[in-house]
């Protein structure tokens, strides 16, 4: 028997009928032989029961013969069944692998995204007036480059004062209004930013209003005369330069 025949491959095409039909035919064929032999033996004067036993003994194991005949007739199907099973098993293993990997990737991606959001949020706490992150198109029509601002660059952008970090100067100054606050801004500097005192200003009674209360009343003339006692302002301070009645 060749290797191909062992695998169930023969020169002729397999019997296309239903498996059960083929199996019944094999059973019938073997049974016919035993029955014919038993009848022949019984004709010599042996009881039918003994004749049947003798016929079966001469035949050998019906089940073994049946199994061999069945393997020959259904060889291809049995082999295909095994191949199908193997393919199915492989496909299941591959599918399980893909699902597992996809889950890993999703988990990784979600973690990376959450991390990114966290970093952006922490940077945005520090950074003001930074245009939103958007890809920037640059280059020529033939070869456009897409430049995407990197999150890492945000940390190195210059820090600007918060829009709310201002000091407000009112009253008799040349240009009343707001002055950008910085942490070394003094009263004199704020007045200077507003163009200095106007003609009828009373510089001896300049008030600093903080949190809805007058916290200081300052003699600016004295500060300018001595050069001492200039006051550092805080965010949101209001400076009021009153009018002189003299």
């Amino acid at each position: 028997m060749s290797i191909l025949e062992r695998l169930g491959l023969y020169a002729t095409r397999p019997d296309g009928r239903a498996r059960a039909e083929i199996e019944t035919d094999i059973r019938d064929e073997l049974e016919m032989h035993v029955a014919e032999r038993a009848a022949a033996i019984a004709a010599t004067g042996v009881t039918e029961e003994d004749a049947r036993h003798q016929a079966e003994a001469l035949f050998g194991s019906v089940d073994t013969v049946y199994a061999r005949c069945r393997a020959t007739q259904l060889g291809e199907r049995i082999m295909l069944q095994r191949i199908n099973f193997a393919i199915l098993l492989l496909a299941l293993v591959a599918l399980a692998g893909v699902v597992w990997r996809a889950e890993q990737v999703t988990t990784d991606r979600d973690a990376a995204f959450a991390d990114l959001q966290e970093r952006i949020a922490s940077l945005q706490d520090d950074v003001r007036d930074v245009p939103p992150l958007q890809p920037v198109l640059a280059g020529t029509a033939s070869g456009q480059l897409v430049r995407v601002p990197m999150v890492g660059q945000l940390g190195s952008l210059p820090r600007r004062a918060s829009p709310s970090a201002k000091v407000y100067v009112l009253g008799k100054v040349d240009r009343p209004g707001s002055v950008e606050w910085h942490n070394r801004l003094t009263l004199l500097m704020a007045l200077a930013e507003c163009g200095g005192a106007s003609e009828f200003a009373s510089l001896s009674k300049v008030r600093i209003i903080r949190n809805k209360r007058v916290v200081r009343e300052v003699n600016v003339t004295e500060i300018m005369r001595t050069g001492k006692g200039d006051i550092e302002l805080e965010k949101g301070d209001r400076v009021h330069v009153p009018e002189s009645f003299f």
Binding site: T12, M32, H33, R37, F59, V65
Partner: protein, 116 residues
């Protein structure tokens, strides 16, 4: 009837089945009987072992089969030699004769075999 019944040499069943079927269409039981009669009961074949050989040769295309009725009116599968089978029979008969001749020559060597 012979005193002894000998086991079959491997591969000899196929060629005997082909030879028996070359006389016409027969079912398995008849093939078994023919071999027994023609060998004058010298060959002892477990009758069942005939069937795997028949099915194998059918799948090889050496014989073909059809269902009919036996002499005792039982449903029976009849086998018949195909053209391929006839060619195989010729080849196997020739191979057997070569083998038998070779073995025969050795056994006919002119020196005496001492009894054990």
């Amino acid at each position: 009837m012979a005193e002894r019944r000998d086991e079959l040499l491997p591969g000899t069943l196929d060629v005997m089945v082909l030879k028996v079927l070359s006389s016409g269409s027969l079912h398995g039981y008849a093939v078994a009987n023919r071999i027994q009669v023609l060998s004058e009961d010298v060959l002892r074949v477990e009758e069942g072992s005939l069937y795997p050989a028949l099915h194998r040769m059918e799948r090889r295309g050496w014989i073909s089969s059809s269902w009919g009725r036996s002499e005792s009116n039982r449903r029976a599968k009849f086998y018949r030699l195909t053209r391929t089978g006839r060619r195989r029979l010729g080849e196997q008969v020739a191979a057997w004769e070569r083998l038998a001749t070779g073995v025969g020559r050795v056994l006919a060597a002119p020196f005496r075999v001492r009894p054990a």
